[in-house]
């Protein structure tokens, strides 16, 4: 009896919050946004695979943030006495590499680099692609011609080869690797955004805002962008796995992160020499790349279902 009376305030609190979040009649802009977010969360929650992907990414972020607490060693801390220790040996959970550095700790700190690559690429390539694609699609005519031919030129090169060329020109290093990936990743987004814009620009709601005297810039950013957003987000999420792999590939080729940075691709590259006798040196960072890529793919697939504007009606 006492228990239930003690519990009741918190129960009503949470049900109040729920009612506030699910109301049909929001009373402010903020509440309208929150109800949208909440219904998005509800549909994410009802899709188990997407939820797994989402959790993997949350864990990645937590690991990156709390890296110093989770790591048992410093990422570059060497102990030549313990070099190439197998997984599970004393103090080396996932074993150690050729310099006796703890692989677990290096993977933990490496998550920061992976996260940085992901965030920087996600903040540049899709935004640039969206801008190019929507401007080309909305304006049409010669701007469309010029912008899309440039896009075609970029699309004509294999991504890794183009990235290699950029890195070779700019110099090896993680920053240049990210720049090179962004420069090669935007064209597909431009194409998607343009295709979406072509269908959107003839919609009545665009005619309506044109009739109120809005300029092209306002229409593109305020009215066309929100409609392109969902397909771009889905595409970015699905592409992220490829971007991590490209970054790892550049690292593997020695053109990305430089030693002793604990970048996962560079770690695999270093472990290649010992692959037959000391498999864990290359395999553990490989597993990390695999799990994070999988997480992005699962989330991307789920987001496609959740954000699909056609499915929203039902």
């Amino acid at each position: 009896m006492t228990e239930s009376t003690n519990n009741s305030p918190s129960v009503t609190d949470s049900s109040n919050l729920r009612a506030w979040l699910t109301t049909e009649t929001p009373r402010s802009r903020f509440q309208a946004k929150m109800t949208q977010l909440y219904s998005g969360w509800q549909s994410l929650r009802s899709n188990p695979l997407a939820l797994v992907g989402f959790l993997i990414l949350v864990i990645l972020i937590l690991v990156a943030v709390f890296a110093p607490f989770l790591a048992t060693h410093g990422p570059s801390e060497q102990n030549l006495a313990m070099r190439l220790a197998p997984p599970g040996s004393d103090g080396y959970l996932l074993g150690s590499d050729e310099f006796g550095r703890d692989i677990w700790s290096r993977i933990i700190f490496g998550s920061r680099i992976t996260l940085m690559i992901v965030v920087l690429v996600a903040c540049t390539a899709p935004v640039f692609g969206l801008l190019v694609g929507t401007v080309a699609g909305y304006l049409g005519g010669w701007p469309d011609m010029v912008l899309m031919r440039i896009t075609d030129i970029f699309l004509a090169f294999p991504r890794l080869v183009l990235a290699l060329a950029f890195v070779a020109a700019l110099g090896a290093g993680i920053e240049n690797a990210i720049l090179a990936i962004s420069l090669t990743a935007w064209p597909p987004y431009a194409r998607i955004a343009r295709a979406e814009t072509l269908t959107i620009r003839n919609a009545d709601y665009i005619s309506a805002i044109q009739l109120q005297g809005a300029g092209s810039l306002r229409i593109i950013t305020g009215h066309i962008w929100p409609m392109c957003m969902s397909s771009i987000i889905v595409r970015v999420t699905l592409d992220m796995a490829g971007i991590i792999l490209t970054a790892a590939g550049l690292g593997f080729l020695g053109l990305g992160a430089q030693p002793p940075m604990p970048e996962w691709g560079a770690m695999i590259s270093a472990g290649r020499k010992f692959l037959l006798d000391h498999w864990w040196v290359a395999t553990m960072p490989g597993l990390a790349i695999f799990i994070v890529s999988l997480g992005f793919n699962l989330l991307g697939d789920g987001l496609r279902d959740i954000l699909d504007p056609k499915g929203e009606q039902s």
Partner: protein
């Protein structure tokens, strides 16, 4: 009576005057003439109906007046001012449009609040909160709808929002493009009543495009019948009620609106 004579008669106090309008689509060899030599005028405070079937060019006339279609010849006079291809800011405060499909004319990711505030922001009108609330009350929705998204609204409610949006800049002329053809009969009645009330309260001038003769007879005083891009007949609603239209096409339309005619 020839359409240009009617136009002459009404010229004196015309708010909206169209003469010899030709509209084209496409380019080069593919260039098609969608509207041929269309002339009519609408008096201030009047309600003019443009009737025709799909493909008759009636909606194209409306979109040309609103500046959404670029390739045209002829004269479009609004309040005595001849329109150019580019429209100035004052134009958008004079004339507004309500579209046919309320499911396609509201931005799916904008709240009603944003949809209604945007014209005010664009034209630097102050007092936005009060104006949005008032507009919602004017179209019979109430302020509880303000922060909802279009997908939370029924078709009729959406069309009310679209009407409210068109009224935000307090225009004198409203272009109505089949405003009820996507709605159920009972909702159509509500929207037509609302449009009639608004016209009276705000002294609006209507140009209504529809394929439904009963709707045009209810809403308008004068009617132009369009077929294949041309106006075949301009008449008053009384003429139509007395079933005295001249042109065979008009008579055919009128007969069909009564229901099925066996062979």
């Amino acid at each position: 009576m020839h359409s240009s004579e009617v136009a002459q008669q009404l010229k004196a106090d015309a708010t909206l005057e169209i003469s010899n309008l030709d509209v084209f689509f496409g380019q080069g060899m593919e260039r098609l003439q969608a509207v041929k030599d269309v002339s009519f005028s609408v008096a201030k405070g009047g309600s003019f109906g443009l009737v025709g079937e799909s493909g008759s060019g009636k909606s194209t006339v409306l979109r040309t007046i609103s500046g959404l279609v670029g390739d045209w010849k002829g004269t479009i006079n609004i309040n005595g001012k001849s329109m150019d291809y580019r429209r100035d800011r004052a134009f958008y405060k004079t004339i507004q449009m309500v579209f046919q499909d309320p499911y396609a004319s509201l931005h799916p990711r904008h709240t009603i609040d944003r949809t209604l505030s945007e014209p005010l922001i664009l034209h630097g009108v102050g007092d936005r909160d009060d104006r949005v609330d008032q507009a919602l009350l004017d179209v019979g929705l109430g302020t509880a709808f303000r922060f909802r998204y279009p997908h939370q609204l029924s078709g009729g409610q959406r069309q009310r929002v679209a009407i409210a949006r068109a009224l935000m800049l307090e225009p004198e002329i409203m272009l109505l493009d089949e405003p009820t053809s996507a709605l159920d009969v009972s909702v159509q009645a509500e929207i037509l009543n609302l449009l009639a009330d608004l016209r009276q309260n705000k002294n609006l001038t209507y140009l209504l495009v529809t394929h439904n003769l009963a709707v045009v007879a209810h809403m308008c005083e004068d009617i132009a019948v369009m077929n294949r891009g041309e106006i075949v007949e301009v008449m008053s609603v009384e003429t139509m009620r007395k079933a005295e239209p001249q042109h065979p096409y008009t008579r055919e339309l009128l007969l069909a609106s009564e229901g099925y005619v066996p062979e």
